[in-house]
Symmetry: C2
Subunit: 252 residues, 2 copies
């Protein structure tokens, strides 16, 4: 029995999120189906670094699974990709320690969010970037984002119905920059609460739209109150971009 970690990229548009749900097409379902085919009908469960919601994308989601099949990692990549639908792809496969766990061993994550601004939407990015008709004050958004960096109780930026007790997280980096006709927001940290990035983005959009001042972020954080923050931004602009692990887990 050997354990493998895979980096997955998926377009979340036609998935009801990552996690298996009865009767729904989910990322976990189609990847486990691909592995089951490779394992001649034997169910092969996968564990991801975390869930993603409906319409949310991943550039670099990481999952792990165990197998009795012995193949080099290039063959694993080809074998799994040959069984996957065209909206999910394995970018790479690594052999990992028997104790490696895609969720528990993740030491950091990067999420990105894409906003297209212009008077008309870009039809080619309609499911992959959120369209905002009005101009955004990017410097104000950048100023606001600085208040988020560091270790804070992010209760105000977490979906109110979450069962997680400890809402202290560390954001190590935020960058907001124009890329072509879009604004790319990147958030790196040791972990993120449920809907945290989308609530942060929703609040930053309100700052960029002149509805809030940049420094209100400080008071919102201090309030620990979800109702003080902005709306949850739509899922289809969000990407789980990268998951970080200590190198020691990867045998090669």
């Amino acid at each position: 029995m050997a354990r493998y970690a895979c980096k997955l990229s998926y377009d979340g548009t036609d998935f009801s999120g990552y996690q298996v749900q009865p009767g729904k097409r989910t990322v976990q379902l189609v990847v486990e189906q691909a592995l089951q085919t490779i394992h001649k009908g034997v169910h092969t469960p996968i564990v991801a670094s975390g869930r993603t919601d409906a319409r949310v994308h991943a550039f670099g989601q990481v999952i792990h699974f165990e197998s009795t099949i012995s193949m080099d990692t290039t063959s694993w990549k080809q074998a799994i990709n040959s069984q996957l639908p065209d909206d999910v792809v394995v970018l790479n496969v690594h052999g990992v320690n028997d104790t490696f766990h895609a969720r528990y061993d993740a030491v950091g994550k990067e999420y990105r969010y894409y906003i297209h601004y212009g008077d008309v939407p870009n039809v080619f990015r309609r499911n992959q970037s959120v369209h905002i008709k009005w101009p955004l004050d990017v410097p104000a958004m950048q100023t606001a984002a600085q208040y988020l960096i560091g270790t804070h109780d992010f209760s105000a930026f977490c979906a109110a119905n979450t069962s997680v007790e400890d809402k202290v997280r560390t954001i190590t980096n935020v960058s907001i920059q124009p890329v072509g006709q879009e604004l790319e927001l990147s958030f790196s940290g040791n972990g993120f609460l449920y809907n945290m990035v989308r609530i942060i983005v929703g609040t930053l959009i309100e700052v960029g739209s002149g509805k809030r001042k940049a420094r209100e972020i400080e008071a919102i954080l201090a309030s620990l109150d979800r109702s003080q923050a902005g709306k949850t931004a739509p899922g289809h602009g969000l990407y789980l971009w990268e998951v970080h692990y200590d190198e020691e887990h990867f045998s090669r």
Copy 2:
């Protein structure tokens, strides 16, 4: 009665091409439906610069229509966009002469074709760029493309079943350049035969893959024989990028 020209952008993925066909979802159908709603149920036909096939996109298709409704062009744009599905958008509307004709008055067109090369596909561009696993010899493709520039009988690069008699066209410019992880091919000319760009691209891919030499293009052109050229490249990499008209047609 006034005549208007609209520049349309559409994602061809979910359309059975541009032209109305019974029982099919086409670009012409959804745009005429939008205009019919605005005209309180009165059918308002549109005329395009040319058709596009199933899965082929447009960044700047041009259509014209006539209307008894008096509105400024900004209001027209908003009115039509409010009635369109999210895979078609009006980029702009211009008032034009009563004699303007989107097809007959087009003096030139630019098509683009996008190829993504890499060992795994980019899931986010799977419907908008053609994936090729192997590396392409871009300089060889650029050399080959030079043979296409000028006025030629493009019979060898035209679908064999076409009824058009005169297959002489002028290609004024071809550029092939890497853009991020993709190769962008641009073709400008006074007009293009049916499937001409896709057959040219299919042939250039064979050159880039080392299956043909760049200078074979000369002999293929001279043969006037479709069977001498390469395969027709898939529709989903192709974009009708821009249609050119003389300025005189546009009243503003």
